[in-house]
Subunit: 189 residues, 2 copies
């Protein structure tokens, strides 16, 4: 019989596509096998288990997101950088809901260390270079930005803002204005 040419990378890629189609928590080793037209057990030569699959998809999503973030930050500073970076998260979540959910998957410490998580933190810090914050406020601000981006996107995707005025796009824009204003006037302790 002809071999399918599976690799962990191709499986993670296929898993990511599957996640966008059916949702990250519907990503199952069985469904992935069907997608590659292969028997389920075959995947276990390339994947440790189902958790391993999910982890690989998460790592892939984090890398993609970090790449987009880096591209968005290039040549920008201040509010411009802030908005561009924030939009990367929001747009990625809209284009790739399954991958975005994967990026929020809780990784075990080992995978987390090998992930693009560090790049994300670095980029957020880079945005803050356009504002006048010193440690430890810079760290507090990094955490706050991460919270707003993640929180907003996650509530928006959950449909939290969809059935009421004003429209979500407008809130997003005004929240970015507000964050910019806040970072320019970060309160003293």
């Amino acid at each position: 019989m002809v071999r399918a040419g599976l690799t962990p990378e191709r499986l993670a890629q296929g898993g990511a596509e599957l996640a966008d189609e059916v949702g990250f928590d519907q990503v199952t080793v069985s469904a992935l096998a069907r997608r590659f037209d292969v028997k389920v057990a075959s995947l276990y030569s390339h994947l440790k288990n189902s958790q391993d699959l999910r982890t690989r998809i998460a790592l892939l999503a984090l890398e993609e997101l970090a790449d987009r973030g880096a591209a968005a930050l290039a040549g920008r500073a201040g509010k411009d950088a802030l908005a561009a970076f924030a939009n990367v998260y929001r747009d990625y979540a809209r284009e790739h809901p399954g991958r975005y959910a994967a990026a929020r998957f809780r990784l075990d410490p080992e995978a987390a260390a090998a992930s693009a998580g560090g790049r994300h933190a670095q980029m957020t810090r880079a945005i803050l270079r356009g504002y006048d914050l010193t440690e430890p406020d810079q760290t507090h601000a990094v955490r706050m930005l991460g919270s707003v981006f993640h929180g907003y996107v996650s509530l928006e995707m959950g449909g939290g803002f969809s059935h009421s005025a004003p429209d979500s796009q407008e809130s997003w824009a005004r929240i970015l204005d507000a964050l910019d204003a806040l970072l320019r006037n970060w309160p003293a302790p």
Copy 2:
């Protein structure tokens, strides 16, 4: 044989406890049946299906959270109210991680309408009475506060802030300071 005295309410309660013990997504009809020392099929007289169980747990968690929020807001205003309300979310998530996760579970529209979701939005609006915002900025601010609270708690629970200085408690306090400052100086469009 002696009857177990199951009801949808007792099952939701047991499910909530189970969620706190093993995590919301490990809450399964089977595990719940074991907890009540009853056969799995028996639960289907009281629950439509597994989704129904999760929905009931989510509704229960949302009610509990709204009750705590209401208690925290009573007699407070301004930053005091803001911080008390924010701490309700954070503390609830720490005490009841499974229930908190349940509260974030995506409900179908019908369940969402019957949920305490509306009370949550009302309470957040009540906090903003202590600040000088008019529509539509008030709505933007409601959405932003929701995003920060949810985002921070969720990143913190995911371990995002645990292995780095400064300590998460300090960031949380400073972020609440920052939000208070921002609401007092909300930027004009």
